[in-house]
């Protein structure tokens, strides 16, 4: 079934190409993109179903056997991430049908979006660490094209910071990969898992691990490397910032989890100790930044950072329960965060402002929109019975179980501050009467309203469903967490049993 794995990456890329060749016919680009998104959703669903029933799926690209060629691997974690990417893709494409319409200055939205989706899936599915770097580069180029399209000055300003920091991150990543290759002679992640155990200079390995923490940390926007994110995420079109907010930082977190469960587990006290402090500081600084801002998308951008802290916390604790929590947290967060950006965009569109000072009257004029804000916002804050409550519960329970009481206290306090911040938006932006000075924009046509609100309703329904029936997602997260904690199945699926046995016996180092 290797075509499922390759298809999840190739289909969006191919449709990006098709979209580019259809320039400048925007209506056709939109159609291609929509069909591609739905097709991708089908492939991603089939992939997760297959992994759920048969276990880890592996494809050797080009038929080259494992440690030499590029391997594509779908375990529970990566296939769940691919599915959530596909869901976000469809939601964004539908939302963009109204948000970025025929008259918009944004000329090319769909081709780079498809390339971005393909690259993100590539990063999730690859089992080769150099290939992971390549997907990061593709992601950077596609996201840069999305970030600057429209060409406003603020966008260019944000894009320059984004590009500069991303280039630093990828350079560090490349150096780390080079050093790792020099020490072990392999790039295949499953093979690396075995080879790093035989590296004599474990101190050097820790240094390389730090390079990876910094590189992925910039991508994931953790403390103190996050400042590019609030500078750039509020500038592009809403559809663009929604998919960025939902997906991009999570690719950094995903890679961090992958690398720090599969490769760098030689000195957990040191590397994961650093991650623990990072997680705590990320949570606190993010939420404080959010409290100090008044513009909707800026507030939400800072909340991304603070929430990333919870996910890194799950990794840093490095217990099975904590990893289950981290996986659950990521999956819940992607849905919630993208939806919040959608709502912010719709509020801006329907009431003419994104600043809390001039925004108002949403509750009276757009009760549905107010309800659609309520679900993801209070899920983010961890209100029971919404999805965020279970995610926070898992992570905090895991930190209590590992007797890290201070970090549990921090997580709870940050949850409270998140609640404060969301209440601030609710009171000032939604509940308050429309300020007299504020002008009301012309109402949207009925089909446009449906395109704008449809994706939000679906995502909010998913948040509610996860909140009320957390069982299925918990089962998925549990399987994923246990696979991460004990990578022997992953290694065996990639390399086959013979190699594992030979190396396990301490013998077969092939030079």
């Amino acid at each position: 079934m290797s075509w499922l794995l390759a298809g999840a990456i190739v289909l969006p890329l191919a449709c990006g190409v098709l979209g580019l060749s259809l320039r400048p016919h925007r209506a056709m680009q939109q159609m291609v993109s929509l069909v591609a998104g739905i097709g991708h959703l089908g492939i991603a669903t089939a992939l997760l179903v297959k992994v759920w029933s048969d276990g880890i799926l592996v494809a050797q690209v080009g038929g080259w056997p494992a440690p030499f060629g590029i391997t594509l691997v779908a375990d529970h974690f990566s296939s769940a991430m691919v599915l959530i990417t596909a869901i976000m893709g469809v939601a964004t494409i539908v939302y963009a049908l109204c948000d970025i319409d025929q008259r918009s200055l944004v000329k090319d939205f769909h081709p780079p979006l498809q390339a971005l989706i393909g690259a993100v899936c590539g990063a999730f599915l690859t089992g080769d660490i150099f290939n992971l770097y390549v997907w990061f580069e593709v992601m950077l180029i596609a996201s840069l094209a999305l970030l600057i399209s429209g060409g406003r000055k603020a966008q260019l300003d944000g894009a320059v910071r984004y590009a500069a920091l991303s280039l630093v991150a990828t350079t560090l990543l490349l150096s780390g990969i080079g050093l790792l290759y020099g020490m072990t002679g392999t790039l295949n992640m499953a093979d690396l898992h075995l080879r790093v155990q035989q590296v004599e200079n474990q101190g050097l390995l820790s240094v390389v691990a730090i390079l990876f923490i910094v590189a992925f940390g910039i991508k994931a926007a953790v403390f103190p490397l996050f400042f590019w994110l609030p500078a750039s995420y509020h500038t592009p079109k809403v559809a663009v910032s929604a998919i960025f907010a939902g997906l991009l930082t999570k690719v950094g977190v995903y890679s961090m989890i992958r690398v720090f469960t599969l490769i760098f587990t030689h000195d957990v006290g040191y590397t994961h100790g650093i991650l623990l402090w990072t997680a705590g500081l990320t949570m606190v600084t993010g939420v404080l930044g959010a409290a100090s801002h008044n513009e909707l998308r800026r507030i939400l951008s800072f909340h991304i950072i603070s929430q990333i802290g919870y996910m890194v916390l799950g990794l840093a604790l490095f217990t099975p329960l904590a990893l289950v929590g981290a996986v659950f947290y990521i999956l819940h967060h992607i849905i919630v965060k993208a939806n919040l950006f959608f709502v912010a965009g719709a509020a801006e569109r329907l009431s003419g402002s994104s600043d809390l000072k001039t925004l108002g009257g949403v509750y009276r004029e757009q009760p549905l929109l107010a309800a659609l804000f309520f679900v993801p916002a209070f899920s983010l804050a961890g209100f029971p019975p919404l999805s965020g409550f279970w995610a926070k519960l898992l992570v905090i329970k895991a930190s209590l179980a590992s007797q890290q009481y201070w970090i549990a206290a921090v997580a709870l306090a940050v949850g409270l501050l998140t609640m404060y911040s969301m209440t601030k938006i609710w009171v000032n932006g939604i509940w308050k009467a429309r300020p007299a000075s504020a002008e009301k924009p012309p109402p949207l046509s009925r089909p446009n309203r449906a395109l704008l609100l449809g994706p939000m309703i679906c995502l909010a329904a998913m948040t509610l469903a996860i909140g009320l029936w957390p069982g299925p997602l918990y089962d998925l997260a549990e399987r994923a967490g246990h696979e991460l904690m004990d990578p022997s199945n992953y290694v065996q699926a990639v390399l086959g049993s013979s190699e594992t046995a030979a190396l396990g016996a301490g013998g077969g180092v092939v030079e």
């Binding site: 290797s2 075509w3 390759a6 190739v10 890329l13 191919a14 990006g16 190409v17 580019l20 060749s21 320039r23 494809a59 050797q60 690209v61 080009g62 038929g63 200055l105 081709p111 180029i141 429209g150 060409g151 406003r152 000055k153 603020a154 260019l156």
Partner: protein, 143 residues
């Protein structure tokens, strides 16, 4: 930038660099080189030309929309991966070989050529966008 020396040197270098880039592309199969590096070398030639000529001249020289060149390259690269699947149900990106005039030509070369086009097309898009300020909408025209 546009001096006599640069213009005359470019006249000579342009062809030389392009030839070198193709050589790099072809030797890339089992020696250092390949589509990505070859493409970068070719785009330096194009960049030189952009420095000494108008963006309009460059567009006339390359004939197609550079973005479409990049798209065509990506399509070629994907196609090279599909050939193996179509011919014998082999995995994605398998190498398939055929002998043409005593030389074995395979899908990896097609893939490399695709990458070459992607790189040239992408770099030219960036450079021409910067060279032609009129093509970019004025700042804050959306508001």
């Amino acid at each position: 930038m546009n001096t006599l020396i640069l213009r005359e040197t470019t006249r000579v270098l342009f062809t030389l660099i392009l030839v070198f880039s193709v050589a790099t592309l072809l030797r890339g199969h089992d020696a250092p080189g390949g589509g990505f590096v070859g493409g970068l070398i070719a785009s330096t030639a194009c960049c030189l030309y952009v420095f000494v000529a108008d963006a309009k001249d460059v567009r006339r020289l390359v004939r197609t929309d550079p973005l479409k060149t990049a798209a065509a390259g990506l399509a070629l690269a994907i196609l090279s991966g599909l050939i193996g699947i179509l011919l014998g149900g082999r995995p994605f990106l398998s190498g398939e070989w055929a002998e043409i005039g005593g030389v074995e030509i395979g899908t990896p070369l097609l893939f490399d050529f695709g990458v070459y086009l992607v790189v040239v097309g992408a770099v030219l898009t960036f450079v021409l966008e910067i060279k032609e300020p009129g093509a970019v909408p004025p700042p804050d025209s959306e508001k």
